[in-house]
Symmetry: C2
Subunit: 201 residues, 2 copies
């Protein structure tokens, strides 16, 4: 694809550097941008520069925030004896959307993945140990992906945290709500048999 303008080519390269966007899609998006006014394009571009300039990590939980302590950690209505450990801000949003969790979070910023060269030292783990050491935390919930990397990270955290008097739990694994049994994979189904729960009316 030989684009007749090096400026458009550069813009296409930048857009297609985003994960999951190919050159062809990038060109479509760039041409749509081209059709906008100068001011609109400036607003578009400045959004990313402003974001990088102003967004920080919450000093308590590591979640993205515009202020020193994020709106969740600084909310006195939330139970800060209960910490939910997640991979990134998208998981926080997913759990917040359930409207069934009133504790606080700890955002690791990734999971341990030797294949991708991500070790425990690259993650927001020391501050979790600090929070556990302070003594007010009663329970920590591991809410990481149900993958090998997630399990590895869970185990690593468990070994660091078991010394403290804190109960540690993970999300329950089982057949999804609304899923048909015949389509559940074997591991999920076998786990949900082992972890069967008392029937409640």
């Amino acid at each position: 694809m030989k684009i007749p303008s090096k400026y458009i080519e550069n813009a296409v390269d930048q857009i297609s550097s985003l994960p999951g966007i190919g050159k062809r899609t990038a060109l479509r998006l760039v041409l749509q941008l081209m059709s906008r006014s100068k001011e609109e394009i400036e607003d578009f571009s400045n959004a990313f520069i402003l974001m990088k300039e102003h967004v920080k990590k919450c000093s308590t939980c590591g979640n993205v925030s515009d202020i020193e302590v994020c709106i969740i950690c600084s909310n006195i209505a939330r139970d800060n004896t209960l910490i939910c450990v997640v991979e990134d801000v998208r998981d926080v949003l997913a759990i917040e959307a359930t409207e069934s969790y009133n504790g606080v979070y700890h955002v690791l910023g990734g999971i341990i993945s030797p294949m991708d060269g991500i070790g425990p030292n690259d993650l927001n783990i020391p501050s979790l140990i600090d929070r556990a050491q302070q003594g007010s935390v009663k329970e920590i919930i591991f809410a990481l992906s149900a993958t090998m990397e997630g399990d590895t990270t869970n185990f690593f955290l468990y070994r660091k945290l078991r010394a403290f008097e804190i109960s540690i739990s993970t999300l329950s694994r089982g057949v999804s709500v609304g899923a048909e049994l015949q389509y559940a994979d074997e591991i999920t189904l076998s786990r949900s048999l082992i972890n069967r729960q008392p029937f409640e009316v």
Copy 2:
């Protein structure tokens, strides 16, 4: 989705203003951008501002170009008695990729679409008439989409151009190369029967 930072929210809004990108995908892309360095984000943002500043329309064909007359129109090896009329720069790239066309182009910048409020006056049509009037053009090929809007535009252009001594053609319509006959739609198949061609060995 309640994002805990108004700067990230703004960046997500900007990315999701692009066609075909929803809020969830936008957030994924924005978080990936957040993980880049300040310089990388500046390069990303500046690409669009520079593009808007420097890219112009070729004064001859209306294609995007960094210079007054685009590299195709100013290429003396190309046959400028043959003009291919297309909707936008992506069509130019698609035809160029075939490596089987040596004429020049005329980029309309859209097609007539009353539903979207696009009339003939919104398109790069007067300059096509000008080019036809100059007298050196021998053939004009209509290479617009095979849709109702494309056909409407073809017909409109035909009425404007038929006064000149220029042969007018359109791309052939028929069963795609490599396609199985049973999956071709009725209109395509019927057109390709009507326009059947002498068998060549």
